[in-house]
């Protein structure tokens, strides 16, 4: 995106007057020094929480402690985090004009197209593996989602899925992640179990189900965020001179 760097901050932040820059420098210095001092005087870490995680890990349905914390012990945080991503993508759609993506994208580049034909199946395999490995090693929905998103962007760039940006089925894809998460949370509740409390036996399976839905949703959201930016929000048919982005 050339030419973006010189966007005047004038009407946004009338800051950056010399006085304020010095003030900001002083504040930053104070914060840095204060934090360094605080770090120095940190007491011995009371490792109560990690021991509890270690203790309850077998009951969490996954072997990777981080995934256990993310999707079982503190599942509400992940649900809300998914909501943040989806609402950012929804806001991006709300602010951009509906128009055909083709008008905005660069003409297909043969080298890129060839590379994409090789790259796509392998990328899908990697995404699937990342999703699966999350249960017992670093990985999971977000990593798989971002790889999928990269594939989606590559596809759009080679105009294979031209209408991706304005397509009708993007919003439902966005809704998939939180919807599945909520559905599982409500389904398991009741019979003495509270909201999002997975039965010990099927915890692993449920987590995988949630993670796969989340991966698709994250892929859709990240791709949408990128493509909305790329196309330039207001390229209505009337206002936009033909040709690629300026």
């Amino acid at each position: 995106m050339n030419g973006l760097d010189d966007t005047p901050a004038g009407d946004v932040m009338n800051a950056s007057s010399p006085l304020l820059r010095r003030l900001a420098a002083l504040a930053a210095l104070a914060i840095g020094a204060g934090l360094a001092a605080a770090v120095g005087s940190l007491p011995e870490p009371p490792a109560a929480l990690p021991r509890q995680v270690a203790a309850f890990l077998p009951a969490s349905g996954v072997r990777n402690p981080v995934t256990a914390v993310l999707l079982n012990f503190r599942s509400l945080d992940t649900l809300l985090e998914l909501a943040v991503l989806v609402l950012a993508a929804t806001a991006a759609r709300a602010l951009s004009a509906p128009r055909s993506v083709a008008a905005a994208l660069p003409p297909p580049d043969p080298v890129l197209a060839a590379f994409f034909r090789l790259f796509a199946p392998m990328a899908l395999l990697v995404a699937g593996y990342l999703l699966w490995v999350g249960a017992h090693a670093p990985g999971g929905a977000f990593q798989a989602g971002s790889v999928l998103a990269a594939t989606g962007v590559m596809a759009a760039l080679t105009t294979r899925f031209a209408a991706f940006g304005a397509s009708r089925w993007l919003p439902p894809a966005l809704a998939l992640g939180p919807a599945v998460f909520l559905a599982v949370g409500v389904a398991v509740a009741g019979g003495g179990r509270s909201f999002l409390q997975y039965p010990a036996a099927s915890a692993g399976g449920l987590i995988l189900l949630i993670e796969s839905a989340a991966a698709l949703c994250i892929a859709a959201a990240l791709a949408a965020l990128f493509l909305e930016c790329l196309q330039g929000p207001l390229r209505g048919p009337a206002a936009d001179p033909p040709g690629g982005p300026r």
């Binding site: 009407d11 946004v12 932040m13 914060i31 204060g34 934090l35 001092a37 605080a38 770090v39 005087s41 940190l42 007491p43 870490p45 009371p46 490792a47 109560a48 929480l49 509890q52 995680v53 309850f56 079982n72 012990f73 503190r74 599942s75 509400l76 945080d77 649900l79 809300l80 985090e81 909501a83 943040v84 989806v86 609402l87 950012a88 929804t90 806001a91 759609r93 709300a94 602010l95 004009a97 509906p98 919003p171 439902p172 966005l174 809704a175 939180p178 919807a179 909520l182 949370g185 409500v186 509740a189 179990r193 509270s194 909201f195 999002l196 409390q197 997975y198 207001l234 209505g236």
Partner: protein, 496 residues
């Protein structure tokens, strides 16, 4: 009344958080039915909060342990007086602003047809974030809910897609992110020092002060207290009317609510009289500065936005009054009641301003002659809500100002009593400055387009709500103080 209690309390809490999320997902799928789902969703959420309030009154504070893991490992959602009070006011305002939005957003020419339909999912996400924030009892969970609320508000603020609105939304986003980062750094420090993310863990001294400073600075930015208020007036003035109502009435208060929780629960032992007076001084400056800017505002929505900057100042008076009075007797009741009264009044005033904008085609105050003549219902709503904003009897605003004044006089804080009374005078000045133009008699009609009845009805109902709050203050004050560690006598008026 057998049916309701048998449903376990945590179902109501789960419903209060899950139903807005479910509604948002439904709206993303069924885009054509978004408006209908919006109003239906509001009713469902309001029902959930009402059930929760009923439980609270019957059985005292409720809680929901998410995922079955007891804190500090898992996350607990706590429903006590303040949380249910805030969720209730959010529900009430959400319902009326929703009904208003079904009429206001339809002919929004500037944005593409599907643009305004996406107002609804964004609003539902904001609502979910707000409800989750009120009920949260965990530091990092508060961070995520603050982010949900912040980003959804930025998306909504930019919905008008004019240059002014987008610039204001961008500035709001940058300030909000700065605040969130400072808050997150504070959370990291507290976790490093205490090893738990619970709201009750007491932070040790040196690290605690750093964490207190960082988290408070972050929250002050998001609450737009003077001198960090620069982003609020343009953002609230340029957003569409229903969005401005939501931002001013609810979103600004959510980050203040978090600050209340932190200062009165997590960091209470660290806060002496000196630290408590800092927000007090900033509050006085905010009231003065906000009111003066409102007096000089050219447009009606700017006037109301600056009024928010001033009214936020009143909120922060609770810290010097509660804590500096020696013992920890925070005037919880007074400040929470103020939040409720101000939320209703501010939402009504913004909706009335939206009506003026729709009917006159502009909101330049100087050219609004004959407004009272041609928009009697909206102007009556504006007047009634204005009375509550100013704090004149018999409104809810008056009771709130009275409770704060009683707390100030009881603690012998003369400066703050003067600020409270002076602030009321300044507020009268800028509210009635608008009326001196609106009451002007103009023979011929100047309206450019008619208004659906429900737009004026919603504004009027919210205004009458803020008035009714004043008459039914006792039960609400009682509800707001259920489950508080030490319900200050300050909340109970001047009885010695």
């Amino acid at each position: 009344m057998t049916g309701i209690e048998t449903i376990a309390a945590d179902v109501w809490i789960a419903a209060a958080v899950a139903s807005p999320l479910a509604a948002a997902c439904a709206m993303l799928v069924l885009r054509r039915w978004a408006a209908a789902l919006g109003v239906l969703g509001s009713l469902v959420i309001l029902g959930a909060v009402a059930g929760l309030a009923h439980q609270l009154l019957l059985l005292g504070p409720q809680q929901l342990v998410v995922g079955g893991w007891d804190p500090p490992l898992g996350i607990r959602l706590r429903a006590d007086g303040p949380a249910v009070g805030m969720a209730g006011i959010t529900g009430l305002i959400g319902l009326f602003v929703g009904i208003y939005a079904t009429a206001y957003l339809r002919p929004l020419a500037a944005s593409p047809p599907h643009g305004e339909r996406l107002f609804w999912p964004l609003w539902m996400f904001l609502w979910a974030g707000l409800n989750a924030l009120y009920l949260a009892d965990d530091l990092f969970n508060l961070y995520v809910t603050l982010e949900v609320v912040g980003l959804a508000s930025v998306g909504l603020a930019a919905l008008a897609r004019t240059a002014a609105a987008v610039a204001a939304a961008l500035r709001y986003l940058l300030v909000s992110l700065l605040g969130s980062l400072a808050y997150l750094m504070g959370v990291a420090l507290v976790y490093a020092a205490t090893g738990t993310l619970e709201l009750r863990g007491v932070a040790a001294a040196p690290v605690g002060y750093a964490a207190l400073a960082l988290m408070s600075a972050g929250l002050l930015m998001k609450t737009a207290l003077f001198p960090l208020h620069g982003w609020l007036p343009p953002a609230h003035a340029n957003a569409p009317a229903p969005v401005s109502a939501l931002l001013s009435a609810l979103v600004v208060k959510a980050s203040f609510y978090v600050m209340l929780r932190l200062w009165f629960e997590l960091f209470a032992p660290l806060i002496g009289p000196a630290t408590a007076h800092l927000p007090g001084v900033l509050a006085a400056a905010a009231i003065l500065w906000g009111s003066l800017q409102a007096l000089a505002a050219r447009r009606l929505k700017q006037l109301i936005a600056y009024s928010t900057v001033a009214q936020v100042g009143y909120l922060f008076l609770v810290f010097p009054l509660g804590l500096a009075g020696g013992s920890l007797r925070p005037a919880w009741g007074a400040v929470l009641f103020f939040i409720l009264a101000h939320a209703l009044a501010k939402a009504a005033v913004f909706l009335a301003a939206g009506n003026v904008l729709k009917a006159f085609g502009h909101d330049r105050i100087a050219d609004l002659g004959g407004a009272v003549q041609q928009l009697p219902v909206s102007m009556f709503a504006f007047a009634v809500a204005g009375v509550s904003l100013v704090g004149l009897p018999p409104s809810g605003g008056f009771i709130a100002k009275w409770l704060l004044l009683a707390a100030a006089l009881e603690a012998g804080r003369w400066g703050y009593a003067g600020v409270l009374v002076g602030g009321g005078l300044l507020a009268t000045a800028y509210i009635f400055r608008f009326f001196s133009h609106a009451f002007r008699f103009v023979p011929e009609s100047v309206l450019c387009c008619g208004l659906p009845r429900r737009m004026e009805g919603c504004a009027l109902l919210l205004a009458l709500g803020s008035m009714a709050l004043g008459l039914a203050a006792d039960p609400i004050l009682a509800l707001l103080q259920i489950g508080l560690p030490e319900t200050g006598a300050a909340g109970a008026g001047g009885a010695p």
